[in-house]
């Protein structure tokens, strides 16, 4: 079975997010006064082939996140796993 994975990473709470800060300032200066806060992280889409069980796929994804995709020292991650058609 094949799986589509969507992963979002984000700096942990309390860790400075210079990008978010700069984007917020940018949006404000464009006149978007309703903007209260901005965080910027990474978004990834991964396709995994030939894994039979969802559990297995999830395990793999978590491992990949811990090892490479996110930086567990400063980032949190979330993911979503969807079975692919065909």
């Amino acid at each position: 079975m094949n799986w589509e994975v969507k992963i979002e990473t984000k700096l942990k709470d309390g860790i400075l997010d210079p990008q978010g800060k700069a984007v917020k300032t940018g949006l404000k200066s464009l006149g978007y006064d309703n903007v209260k806060s901005v965080f910027v992280g990474k978004y990834m889409e991964i396709v995994l082939n030939d894994i039979d069980e969802k559990n297995k796929a999830a395990e793999l994804v978590e491992e990949m996140c811990e090892k490479l995709l996110a930086n567990p020292v400063i980032e949190d991650y979330k993911y979503e796993l969807m079975k692919m058609e065909g």
Partner: protein, 233 residues
């Protein structure tokens, strides 16, 4: 005759370009603050290299909305000479003064070194002191110089002779840029953006035996004088 070099928050090559124009060419030059809403009577506006607004989000994305960009865009649209170097090139792309966009380098690494370029169009205001197809040498220093434009866009560029500088060949291409593009101009030829840094090879002392940057500024000043002469006549 006067040139202006824009300082955005995070610009860091503004003084380098200023130094070349002012001290090497003895050309009247101002630094222009990013918050200025009007421009003096300039013959050349330079958007310099650096990390405007930290280059956060995408390089050039936030700078494109700086207050000074409104008059700069007007200046460009009315035929004024605009030179965007490195981050300046990225800002020109984000402002749609030039077509296409920048991606991160294929290597994902910042790269600072000299590369060989081919002058693909020597009849622009920025390259008139080079021979057509001349191979020149210039330093690059960037992390996002991987130029992209869609197929039609590329055709247009070629058709209108807008590709001004190319990395000499794939092995000299430091970032994976499409068609080895290193610098392009707009259709009218008065707006030019390039990733390499001509201001870093305009003085013998820091770039021995390399006047390839010097000749770019000489081209521009040559053009400005020409334009002045025409008006005078």
């Amino acid at each position: 005759m006067k040139a202006g070099v824009v300082t955005f928050p995070g610009s860091n090559c503004d003084n380098d370009v200023f130094n070349v124009l002012k001290n090497i060419f003895d050309f009247k030059t101002d630094l222009i603050w990013h918050k200025d809403k009007t421009l003096d009577d300039y013959d050349l506006i330079v958007l310099p290299g650096g990390f405007s607004y930290g280059d956060y989000l995408r390089s050039g994305a936030i700078a494109r909305f700086a207050e000074v960009m409104e008059p700069v865009i007007d200046f460009a649209n009315s035929g004024g000479l605009v030179l965007g170097i490195c981050n300046g090139f990225q800002i020109l792309l984000e402002s749609n003064l030039l077509p296409g966009a920048m991606k991160v380098n294929d290597s994902l690494k910042f790269v600072c070194k000299n590369v060989k370029l081919e002058v693909s169009n020597n009849v622009t205001p920025f390259t008139n002191k080079y021979d057509q197809h001349e191979i020149i040498d210039m330093p690059v220093a960037h992390g996002e110089g991987n130029y992209y434009v869609d197929e039609n866009g590329l055709k247009e560029l070629k058709k209108n002779n807008q590709i001004v500088l190319r990395y000499k060949d794939d092995s000299e291409n430091p970032n994976g840029s499409l068609s080895n593009i290193a610098g392009i101009c707009n259709k009218k030829g008065n707006v030019f953006g390039l990733m390499p840094h001509p201001e870093r090879c305009s003085e013998e002392i820091i770039a021995p035996n390399n006047s390839d940057g010097y000749r770019m500024f000489a081209s521009i000043i040559n053009e400005i004088k020409d334009r002045g002469d025409k008006i005078a006549r």
